[in-house]
Symmetry: C2
Subunit: 267 residues, 2 copies
């Protein structure tokens, strides 16, 4: 597959400063796709943009945008301007709250909803409409296995990720008739700086067998034509629990709670 032909000439990566976002950026620059890199921190973004311009000769620039802010999507659209974007990758959206829903201040969950629901929806509407009109493109929503629901201790996070999963599926259903590919790339444990910070904060050891960001980016781009879902580490046709079995959903929550020391509900 010629990525530049199918998803060029410009790609936008939201959450590009490190980890899987940076891995996507390096992979796409090597394919001669121009890049708009978005994240909050200016330093790592500008360093990555300079690296990609120097190594691959692509047009690459960055925009410092807080993707959880109310004006984030408007600022993304302004940064894009009239550039012909063929690929949008949403790689932002981690939850750093680490608190039960009821215990934490509502303002923190509202910020998570802006980050993972409102702004993802706005960006998908903006890029999806443009791609439909040009009859070509791709959207990757980097997600979490939390999207399959019901994990105790991360009620809001599993809810926003379920939103993104179903939005992506609906987009896939709409846009596949217009030459636009949509993929929910559902990660397992991935060896990113953000994940390592989370493990350290929780006092958890670094687990063996985490996915590398490069391997995740490779899988996402390879599976993008075969949406709407790709689960890291699982074959396309793996069969798990039933989403509309009340008993299985209940049992799953209880089983994960029992197995999870760090997220055990306070009794």
């Amino acid at each position: 597959m010629n990525l530049a032909h199918r998803y060029g000439p410009w790609a936008v990566i939201a959450g590009a400063s490190e980890g899987t976002g940076a891995a996507f950026a390096r992979r796409l620059a090597a394919e001669r796709i121009n890049l708009l890199l978005i994240a909050r921190r200016t330093g790592p973004l500008e360093a990555l943009a300079a690296e990609l311009r120097a190594q691959h000769g692509v047009d690459c620039f960055s925009a410092s945008i807080d993707l959880g802010a109310e004006d984030a999507a408007a600022r993304v659209a302004a940064a894009v301007g009239a550039r012909d974007v063929g690929l949008f990758i949403n790689n932002a959206g981690a939850d750093t709250n680490g608190s039960l829903f009821i215990d934490n201040d509502l303002a923190n969950w509202e910020q998570l909803v802006r980050l993972d629901v409102v702004n993802v929806m706005r960006n998908c509407h903006f890029f999806g409409r443009r791609m439909r009109d040009r009859g070509r493109g791709g959207i990757i929503l980097v997600g979490s296995g939390a999207c399959y629901g019901g994990l105790n201790g991360i009620a809001a996070y599993t809810a926003v990720k379920a939103f993104d999963l179903c939005l992506g599926e609906g987009l896939w259903a709409e846009l596949r008739h217009h030459g636009v590919d949509v993929l929910n790339l559902i990660l397992g444990r991935t060896d990113t700086p953000a994940h390592r910070r989370l493990l350290e904060r929780n006092g958890q050891p670094i687990p063996a067998g985490m996915a590398s960001p490069d391997a995740v980016a490779d899988l996402g781009l390879a599976r993008l034509p075969h949406g709407p879902v790709c689960n890291w580490g699982l074959d396309d046709d793996v069969v798990g629990y039933a989403p509309n079995s009340a008993a299985q959903r209940r049992a799953r929550i209880v089983a994960i709670e029992a197995a999870s020391a760090s997220y055990a509900a306070k009794k």
Copy 2:
């Protein structure tokens, strides 16, 4: 089960003017639970409140609040005041857009997100925290089978309903240790005025075998102690498609698209 003992003395119903919301109100008033009825339209709400006061001698009042407005949750909290609420039923949240995600104005989807994501989350946080502190209570989130994902033509609706499902599951996991019951009551086709209006607008016939609002309210109250999920018309242990099978999710979307004339994606 003595409902007033377990879920009284006050219940709050969001979306109470007709259909399942009004059915819940009549059922609870008959059990001598006081009621705050919330919806946008004042007339039907006040008529229902007067009916319940007269028939059952309960304390019952209404508040006209647009549950899709930015200030809705603050207004709900103000209407509740210091009343001792033991049951919150979210029965609002229908999608009247009837449009593909990409075709419709973003502002309409943002309104749906306020209605079904932001304000549901705010209300659950408000009532959930109070119920946890008093060590007793119940929350029913009336949902839709769209919560199981990926239906073409209703991308935003399936996403907000998936959010509510997973939020409710997370709440169930947190609050069950504090004497608070949480149930996602997932409806099938129900014979409500809103559903009949939707069918009429789409030029669809009234299907046979729709659930009655009274039966839905009865089921919800009976199953509330057995959360986090109850699917209308399905036994607790029914097994459906696998949520983490990429192939099954893809096949489900395509199959529903093929079977659905009214929501067929435009080609």
